[in-house]
């Protein structure tokens, strides 16, 4: 062909459906449980970046985010036999990471009640502040718009953005919302972002 193609373009060209992180994760999990020790590395490589975004949705700094992700993986090693359906391994990991992050955020709030929530969301930590300086105009507008909406919306949007099929049942417990309201809330939160964008980025 003579031109560079991305993985997804290549697999489409060969008539293969794109392999999502979710199916990759369950494939690796099945292989690991049936004795392929190296398969766990693939599971970790596939799901760690997803867990990062889920945990950062709770406003955790880099160190706390790493701690929560590590606890999530150690929990998997210890309790993987309780996962009856291997297809559910990604959901299991995401739920576990969300709970760890929520618990951490709660205890951090208790320790530091005067923390500036909106500033925290805008600039999660020093390293991200450096990244922020590199935002192009469009991304800066989007980033500012998201930072201007309420905390619950920010959390919901970031978690939902990184989930394949959002597990509304467990999301509703963590975010303290009725299950039926998550779909409409997602739409409302996106509308808030859109409004903030229209106002010029909300910053």
């Amino acid at each position: 062909m003579g031109t560079m193609v991305t993985m997804s373009e290549r697999s489409r060209a060969e008539g293969q459906p794109d392999e999502s992180p979710w199916s990759k994760a369950s494939g690796a999990f099945i292989a690991w449980r049936s004795g392929d020790a190296r398969a766990v590395d693939e599971l970790v490589s596939t799901m760690t970046p997803v867990l990062w975004h889920v945990v950062r949705a709770y406003g955790l700094d880099r160190q706390a985010a790493e701690d929560v992700i590590q606890s999530t993986w150690l929990g998997l090693v210890r309790h993987h036999q309780t996962i009856a359906d291997p297809q559910a391994v990604a959901s299991w990991l995401i739920t576990s990471a969300r709970r760890g992050a929520a618990a951490h955020a709660r205890s951090a709030r208790r320790a530091d009640p005067v923390e500036d929530e909106s500033l925290h969301a805008l600039i999660p930590d020093v390293e991200s502040a450096e990244a922020l300086a590199m935002l192009d105009d469009e991304a800066a507008r989007l980033w500012g718009a998201v930072a201007s909406v309420d905390e619950r919306c920010r959390k919901l949007l970031r978690v939902v953005a990184f989930m394949d099929r959002p597990d509304y049942q467990s999301l509703s417990q963590d975010l303290d919302m009725p299950v039926g309201s998550i779909g409409p809330t997602r739409a409302r939160c996106l509308a808030k972002v859109r409004t903030a964008l229209a106002k010029g980025g909300g910053r």
């Binding site: 004795g35 760690t48 975004h53 990244a131 989007l142 998201v146 996106l190």
Partner: protein, 157 residues
């Protein structure tokens, strides 16, 4: 899908790209997690099938004339245990208090080093297994069930 849903999905996709680009995971995060999981797995292996009784450490067994047989008794935090006896060219044993399908269990006996060998056996309905094997050097037991593998540490024979 309505036009509105399409717009929402597109905006969500934009947000996703923004987070992916501007708040990516630290470059060493995956490697750190792979190492953490590998270490945890090792701990698990060492911990899970815990040797709680060894006839080599009990003078009484020798007095009773059982000096040729080595009896090892392992327990697992989940509550079941593995009783094993290594006698001449036989390794026999029983899984006790196991709350699951005995038919799905496989016991693996391994030796390592220059005498490295591996034997496998299923259980009968009462949880007994019997393997024709003459392990030498260091031996390790692993119990496989429902995709789970539980190992003992290496025991010097």
């Amino acid at each position: 899908m309505t036009e509105h849903d399409t717009g929402d999905n597109a905006l969500l996709e934009e947000l996703r790209d923004m987070w992916l680009t501007y708040d990516p995971p630290p470059s060493d995060l995956v490697a750190t997690m792979i190492a953490a999981v590998a270490a945890a797995e090792l701990d698990q292996e060492w911990e899970l099938l815990v040797l709680v009784r060894d006839s080599a450490e009990e003078a009484a067994a020798q007095v009773r004339g059982l000096a040729t047989a080595r009896m090892l008794y392992f327990t697992v935090a989940e509550g079941w245990s593995l009783d094993a006896e290594i006698d001449g060219d036989q390794v026999r044993g029983q899984l006790l208090d196991f709350d699951g399908d005995m038919g799905s269990v496989e016991v693996v006996v391994e030796t390592r080093g220059s005498a490295a060998e591996l034997w496998r056996a299923g259980l009968d309905e009462f949880g007994f297994f019997s393997i024709e094997a003459r392990p030498a050097g260091e031996v390790r037991f692993t119990v496989h069930y429902r995709g789970n593998a539980v190992s003992s540490r290496w025991v010097q024979l």
